[in-house]
């Protein structure tokens, strides 16, 4: 695929998806152009809507990486939700254990605990696939249910704050041990973690030996093994880094949003992250771009309900159509020959005749 094609193919997939979604909206009796106008206005139309978009994009940056990094090593991970949940639990345990520490130190402990928990969770999936042949897609999905059950068990049992009667939650962090907001906005500092993680992942994959070795594993395991690469360690590390990113997303939910861990840790950021990674074609920089797009779509979901009286599932339908078209464009790439395109191949045929 050439560079132009790499941009043109997904772009036309997005346009095609928008066309189909437009028809869908029209059948509901709403003018699609007005709907797109509202989406733009609610997502990117002003600094106010940009803030809304950025707030919603920030966990997706991290959960997107959870699928994107291991994908470069050739493993499809969809256990993001579980990694977010265990990351959040790790963070709250670390945070509550260090309440007497200075805030910066305590937050560092929280990040490290979250990375460790989320990282080991996904690394476990990847290791299971590499060494025992258990498909990581299946194990990841099932482990997410385990993570949610573990969370419910902990927040309704040993970690429960007895004063949280009808909404079981852990003890709260003190206000100074929480992540703050950019002044004058409603965007919390979690956004920095997301952007830094994406840039670091890009650097790691594109500019380091480790990243190159990882890509070799993803390209052809046999070739990687023949050239003496420690494939097992590399894929496990890729899984760990992906899971650690999602773990930080959980830590941010705890430290910036809720100030404690409760059942809202399982809010679906992990699942949207899978979508983000696939739309971004598993590229960390793409994850930034697509997270903004998804954040914007999520931000506009409410507007569609309030201004156009569309059902709440409308945005989910748009997400689904987008996902389908991007995957289709990948699968169908190169299978059509357009009569007006004179590619090198057809020219060669002509000469042969």
């Amino acid at each position: 695929m050439t560079r132009t094609e790499a941009i043109l193919v997904p772009l036309s997939a997005i346009l095609a998806a928008m066309l189909v979604f437009g028809i869908f909206v029209a059948t509901l009796g709403v003018n699609p152009l007005l709907v797109y106008g509202s989406i733009y206005k609610a997502a990117f139309g002003s600094w106010y809507s940009w803030q809304n978009t950025l707030v919603r994009a920030s966990p997706l940056l991290l959960t997107g990486l959870c699928t994107a990094i291991p994908a470069r090593a050739g493993i499809i991970v969809i256990g993001n939700e579980g990694a977010v949940v265990v990351g959040g639990l790790g963070a709250v345990v670390g945070g509550l254990a260090t309440l007497s520490f200075p805030p910066f130190l305590s937050l560092t402990v929280m990040v490290l605990c979250a990375m460790l928990c989320g990282g080991l969770w996904i690394a476990f999936c990847v290791v299971l696939q590499h060494y025992r042949g258990v498909n990581a897609v299946i194990s990841g999905l099932l482990l997410s249910y385990l993570a949610i059950a573990l969370m419910n068990q902990l927040i309704e049992g040993p970690l429960r704050d007895p004063s949280s009667l009808n909404s079981p939650a852990t003890y709260p962090l003190t206000p100074d041990h929480r992540l703050g907001y950019f002044s004058g906005t409603h965007i919390h500092h979690g956004l920095i973690f997301g952007i830094v993680a994406c840039l670091a992942a890009w650097f790691l994959i594109q500019r380091t030996t480790f990243g190159f070795a990882m890509k070799v594993c993803g390209g052809n395991v046999r070739a990687a093994q023949l050239s003496g690469l420690p494939v097992g360690k590399l894929v496990a590390m890729a899984g760990f880094l992906g899971g650690a990113s999602a773990g930080i997303a959980g830590m941010i939910e705890v430290a910036a949003v809720h100030g404690r861990a409760n059942e809202s840790l399982n809010a679906g950021y992990g699942y949207v992250g899978i979508l983000v990674a696939f739309l971004a074609r598993q590229s960390p920089l793409g994850v930034i771009l697509i997270s903004l797009l998804m954040g914007g779509l999520l931000a506009s979901g409410g507007m569609l309900q309030r201004a156009h009286d569309l059902p709440d599932a409308t945005i989910a339908v748009l997400e689904g159509i987008l996902f389908l078209f991007i995957l289709l464009s990948d699968t169908l790439y190169g299978r059509f020959r357009f009569p007006w395109v004179r590619s090198g191949e057809t020219k060669a045929d002509a000469v042969a005749v």
């Binding site: 809304n52 949610i148 419910n152 909404s167």
Partner: protein, 367 residues
Amino acid sequence: MRMPSRREVLAGLAGAAMPRVANPIVVGFLYNGPKNDLGYNQSHVEGRQALGSLPWVRAVEEANVPETVAAEESMRDMIFQDRATAIFATSFGYYDPFTVDMARENPGVQFFHCGGLYEEGKHPKNIGIYFGFIDEVEYLSGMLAGLATRTNKLGFVAAKPIPQVLRNINSFTLGARSVNPKATTKVVFTGDWVLPVREAEASSSLVDQGIDVLTGHTGSPRVIVQTAERRGVYGCGYQFNQSSMAPHGFLTGAEWAWGTVYVRIAQMLHQGRSVTNGAIPRRLAGTLRDEFCKLSPYGPAVTESWRARVASAKAAILDGSLEIYRGPLRTNNGGIAIPAGKVLKIEDVELDRMDWLVEGVDGRAGG
């Protein structure tokens, strides 16, 4: 989908025909699930629809708003884009930190939260709390279950062992045992509010164990009532009218009547009153007597004599002669729940900390 009654259609037409005033009071509603869940969320949507009869109110709403920053952003959008001056946050998880933060950020807007724990001095003054005590309705629903059962075994599929759920299990069982002392309730906890598959499995396995009346407390016990019907046993609903799910076996159910609350608050807002200045009560709590909750319409299996017994119990609750939490009550592991001679009024805060299951319940209150 249930067809609207003639009265509802007329009310709707009247609402549509009424001229909308130029500067209506804009109120925003947030629900954390779909608007047609036939459960908790739909009970609030139905309540919001009651505002349709007031021409000077315009309601905007968002469904499926998760209990994350999304809740905060939705409230903010309603305030800034739709100029909402009052917000109704209907899900428990919206309270802390989202409603609290938004109320602090927008002191001119009135926030109403369903069931939150307001802390004087710590939480901003523009938050009002509304909620209902539905135990007495569960008691009446349990009475019908106790009368209908032939095996004397009732089934209760519950989400989580939190006080609100334990209260319903206990009051349902107390109602059943008031008319049928041999009746027992077997409880299964599914672990979460919306798990339709697990709720169906739990319901089915309860029927396999000889249970012949099923009810539950989840986000929407729709699936529980539906499974009861499919397996040929009786079902009692909760949250919203689920009679459409069980045309043969539906007995009744305890459902919310939030319209009462929403119309009352809207009228107070219309008079220029606010929670901030204390003219709207900080806590607006109501019972069956206040019409904050009601009994679902009876199903076809309910006989005249059963109706009469429920009606007389209801009358006794309304005139105060029947208190459902009256000692002596034993817990199901032999302890004393409420000692002899002690009566806990349904509004008593001690009940909000309930951590026991009453004698006659087969299940464990601990997580």
